[in-house]
Subunit: 341 residues, 2 copies
DNA sequence: CTGAAAGCGCTTACAG
DNA sequence: CTGAAAGCGCTTACAG
């Protein structure tokens, strides 16, 4: 006996292969009795549809790719869950590629995704260096949806947030609380657009409120808890303690709080700390973290929907959605006397 | 001009398609000059290898699948990162499927993975109900590697830990600290083998040390921070406060600590709390979390290596690796007078 | 060291 | 409502 493919099912059911395919995809087009014959044959033979063959035939896979630095960042978990929710009950699957903060790995990933003829790619994070590669991907017929930011390039599909504005507002909030010596601990703003926007928002808010930026209080690092700790220690080593710290991710903020405590400072009594992301742990840190809420789940869901849509039709314009963010006040920031440090 | 496939490259280089394929996969077999001709043609035409066609031809895809409940659980992030690390620089990619604690979704996922003719599947979490489906997957030629536990079925490939033992030892540790009224907040031990093993370890350790199990102090729930909070509240509502709480995941433990604090209890002064997993936040909670360290990254790495190996050869026996766990003492548990509550 | 040829299992117009 | 036929772009023995 040969393999159990559509041809085998067709023979067993006494119909043609085309009919089997029709029964599977557009059963309405087939007479009920014929349909029944086919279903029975499928059951009897234990036939398993071959998606690889189908994808190959259609010259495009039914897989969507996701590019992230690392899965180890709980805000991405929300995005992934949102994507999965949207892909649920569709023919699409999700391939995840970790670029590990490395531009070369990222390029390799993009190449792999092209070779796999993915139906679409969602970008959670890329370095600036690979913007062009992504544009090429798009031009090569693989729709590419960038999340987390609204790119400067208006032709790029984005489901993002306004990092500049969110950061500006959070900084303004700190200033309004009376803080003047404010530290900024962010990601690699030298290489990542979204992080740079946050930094710019921070700088502009300070400037607009007549607060001097002390560059000794600014650190760019990878966004893990441990890196947040180290960044804060570095600041404390060379500087007088700041009155507030704006950490550009919650993981960093948790690390910052930890190192401040270990250095003998209370949060928020001595130092106010705020984050960015609003991860699921944020309400449960000590003190609960004041942060910028980012709708990660929704971002993932919309990005997946967009990727699927773009893969199926070639309507003209770029999809650009800017989702709202908001400041969530919890307990990690407090008002101070502006003259105080 | 037609599509740029191997045939086109072959024509441009003045060789046959077989030779192009050889240059790409086993360049040693081709004369250097011929090789050069082919590389030039590839460059000139901008040829992109088509993995879908290759997978189709080989009747097996170069994709490995992962089944998890949700990405929203930071210990899984370690596993995913481990898998990705191992897949790096291989031809394999990772498809992730979320089963969302739902047996039907999980079955659907398994079906999809079969249809995609995946090269292998790594199981992070499944409900007991779908054990048979997984066995069928394996029999259908898709090697299936179960992580997080050593299955009772000895023919099943496992890269796991000894949940029973780890849980037994942690419970013993609590008893040794003098605790007698110990609560257990775990996952759905009615439906998940690994969770059940942890619960059994807990029960047996109590029994072996002559401590009575108070079933009012046992709750099974989904393992999120919020669920941990709710579970603890539920316990406090109907019972006198326990002296210690063993949460079978760190996320649960963080929720437990939060609800205890909100109810006016100090940790560990009034109640000791320990977790399971050792997520990256565990050292930075207040107090730092005493927990069972699980080598998630390594587990992912080994699982990926096993899946690849199993997909390539059909060596006989089952791969079964039990990784060691250890208790990490931080600040969330303290010794008490055994007579105390 | 290289080429010709078969075949992987579907989908998709097209014809009837 | 159904079938015959071409073709998607590779890989893999086999022959030379």
């Amino acid at each position: 006996m040969g393999r159990i493919d559509m041809h085998a099912v067709a023979s067993a059911a006494g119909v043609s292969q085309s009919t089997v395919s029709r029964v599977l995809h557009r059963p309405r087009l087939v007479r009920p009795e014929t349909r029944k014959l086919v279903y029975e044959a499928i059951e009897r033979l234990g036939y398993e549809y071959n998606s690889v063959a189908a994808d190959f035939n259609k010259q495009r896979s039914s897989i969507i790719g996701l590019i992230i630095f690392t899965a180890r960042s709980s805000i991405h978990a929300d995005v992934i869950d949102g994507i999965q929710e949207e892909l649920q009950n569709t023919k699409y699957s999700l391939i995840i590629g970790n670029s590990r903060y490395n531009a070369a790995t990222e390029r390799e990933l993009i190449r792999l995704f092209r070779q796999r003829r993915l139906s679409g790619v969602i970008v959670a994070e890329t370095t600036d260096e690979n913007r062009d590669e992504l544009r090429n991907l798009e031009r090569a017929g693989v729709p590419t949806v960038v999340t987390w930011e609204m790119t400067e390039d208006n032709n790029c599909h984005c489901i993002g947030i306004d990092n500049y504005k969110a950061s500006y507002e959070m900084t303004q909030y700190l200033v309004t609380l009376g803080h003047r010596r404010i530290a900024f601990i962010g990601g690699r703003y030298d290489r990542i657009e979204r992080v740079r926007h946050r930094y710019q928002g921070f700088c502009d808010a300070l400037r607009d409120h007549g607060v001097t930026l002390d560059t000794g209080l600014v650190v760019g690092t990878t966004p893990s808890v441990t890196d947040g700790r180290e960044a804060m220690y570095r600041i404390l080593e060379d500087n007088e303690v700041p009155s507030a710290v704006f950490a550009a991710s919650d993981a960093l903020a948790i690390g910052v709080i930890s190192s401040l405590k270990d250095s003998g400072y209370s949060v928020p009594e001595d130092v106010s700390v705020c984050g960015f992301d609003d991860i699921d742990m944020a309400p449960f840190t000590t003190p609960p973290l004041t942060t910028v809420h980012v709708p990660g789940y929704k971002m993932g869901k919309l990005a997946a929907a967009s990727a699927m849509r773009l893969g199926e039709s070639t309507d003209a314009g770029a999809i650009r959605v800017c989702l709202p963010t908001s400041i969530v006040e919890r307990g990690s920031c407090r008002a101070v006397n502006p003259s105080g440090g």
